[in-house]
């Protein structure tokens, strides 16, 4: 082991003080580069995109071949579209949550967080992490969903489904983004209560269960109870709206103002949830060992 003398006294470029925006951008950069440099992620995304395109193409061909021209379908073809959207939403949110929470715990367990918090503060750190992972997930979603749309289009599948594809997809992207940010804030909050990867599953279990409940409600309960005032009310609640509104949009005539109102409520909830995440993350950043309860997280003040 040898080393030469380290001397940077003659460096001409002095460090400049950072700004929150610049630091957020750097955290985003790291999150993206880390995933771009991961061959497993790239390969899996590519294979999933091919698979989705093939399944959509074969499924579309089957539908066209079976029902094309007859119009005698025993189910609402729009449900296929809505189911595909909800499934993609769930997969994206589950994947991104896993990536985000494991990153939070990794930084905490390795004490990188101590260095990061002394250098850049908590808001750029959490915002950069959420945005970076969100962008990667969005690109993956677009790649996988895009090939599925192309595969379905090639065989003429859209002719069977009476939905406004363009607006539906745009709304779906909006619901994905809103759902992602809200789930990301909540997942970050829960992940910060633990410092070991093996405790992570238990910590985020409430949200995992909620995702499954939302899936069941949106795919099975809502289609059979269209017009139910409780479900309509729930579709305006953040988290629920990301799952229920796309389904309502696909299966019934939802007013634009309802969609805008539901989206507005979610947007308004984001700062509050992000603030909650920063408070709990800050209180728990230096805590290691066993899981910290949410009550403890809220009442203690560990960090300056």
């Amino acid at each position: 082991m040898s080393a030469t003398t380290f001397d940077r006294t003659n460096r001409s470029t002095a460090p400049s003080s950072g700004s929150g925006l610049r630091e957020t951008r750097l955290i985003i950069r790291r999150e993206i580069l880390t995933r771009l440099g991961n061959r497993t992620i790239l390969t899996a995304t590519g294979l999933l995109a091919l698979f989705a395109g093939a399944v959509a193409g074969i499924g579309g061909w089957f539908l066209v071949d079976s029902f094309g021209g007859t119009g005698a379908m025993s189910f609402d073809p729009r449900a296929i579209f809505a189911t595909a959207m909800i499934s993609a939403l769930l997969a994206s949110l589950v994947y991104s949550a896993s990536s985000l929470t494991s990153g939070v715990v990794e930084e905490k367990s390795s004490r990188i967080v101590e260095i990061l918090l002394t250098k850049i503060g908590i808001v750029p750190l959490l915002a950069g992490k959420m945005i970076g992972i969100g962008l990667v997930t969005l690109v993956q979603l677009l790649a996988i969903g895009g090939t599925a749309v192309v595969g379905f289009s090639v065989v003429g599948g859209w002719s069977l489904i009476n939905v406004a594809v363009g607006p539906s997809l745009l709304w779906f992207l909006l619901w994905f983004l809103l759902g992602y940010v809200i789930f990301a804030a909540l997942n970050t909050t829960l992940a910060s209560t633990v410092s070991r990867q093996e405790d992570l599953g238990t910590a985020v279990m409430p949200l995992s269960v909620l995702q499954m409940v939302l899936l069941v409600v949106s795919l099975y309960v809502l289609p059979m109870n269209m017009g139910n005032p409780w479900l309509e009310g729930l579709s305006f609640v953040p988290l629920f709206s990301s799952y229920l509104m796309p389904m309502r949009f696909a299966l019934e005539d939802v007013s634009t103002w309802e969609m805008v109102l539901a989206a507005g409520i979610s947007v308004a909830a984001i700062p509050a949830l992000f603030w909650l995440a920063t408070v709990i993350y800050r209180n728990n950043a230096l805590r290691t060992g066993s899981r910290v309860s949410l009550q403890q997280s809220l009442t203690s003040d560990e960090m300056a």
Partner: protein
Amino acid sequence: MNGLQLTGISRSFGDRRVLHDVDLTVHRGEIVGFIGGNGAGKTTTMRVILGLLTPDHGEVTWEALPITAKDRRRIGYMPEERGLYPQMPVRDQIIHFALLEGHHAAAAREVADELIASLGLQGREQALVQDLSLGNQQRVQLAVALVGDPALLVLDEPFSGLDPIAVETMSRLIREQADRGVGVLFSSHQLELVERLCDKVCILDRGRVTASGSVVELQDDGKSRWRLGFSRTADSFAAEVSMTRGVNVEFSAADRTTVLVSVDGSGRDVPGEILAAAQRHGGLKSIVSAQRSLADLLAGKFISSGPGINPGAERSLDKVGVSQ
């Protein structure tokens, strides 16, 4: 000579007070060893310095002024656990932290390449941190601490888990930083290393500074000590010598043939009356000078001659003496 100064720092977690009026100074170009048992409060003190924890009382100053967030950005920090992304390549990791320190992209790459060369990490630039040996991980960690051209280094257990060669390299790198005018505060359980490397030592025990100063100052408490070995039990020798004014005698219940004699004053030679008593007792095999090491200070072995200072040590020793 200004630098970092902690004055009267106290900090509690709930009802548990972990720091009691801690005073600590790290001047520029000075290496300060921070020693104490597990849970003594070393890491908490470091976190107070870094601003990760706010003190309940006391003040942290940098260059004689209250420390600011900007000042803290000039602190290079190495946490006890390896504060690195395990699945990130070495060079990318250093560049990332250089960018966070405010360097522009080209400068960050330049800094990373310089540090890689300086720390002997050539050939490992693209390796993932998790695939490196512990010693190399420590070097990457040090590189991350140095990317911001720090004015102060705060290193929590930088030698933990290193092999002797890596310890030597890390020691040299720390000394080089001090020679450049960087203040260095590091904690370690390797006390011989602290003795050898540090200009100053601060001993923390259950949140209190029990001793602070240069190694020489700490070792010199105005007493001279010798360990006398006999071929037979030395009880009567100890009893006789302990009657002498200004002399303390200690020996272990487990080994009654070796006696530690402390004499007030800093004389280099064993006083004549003690030598005479040893000759009268007979069976004298050896006389070894026994100055206090940091390990002794930490364990309180020699401090035990003062009543009540270290009750644990007193219980473990049979004490014979009239000076108590």
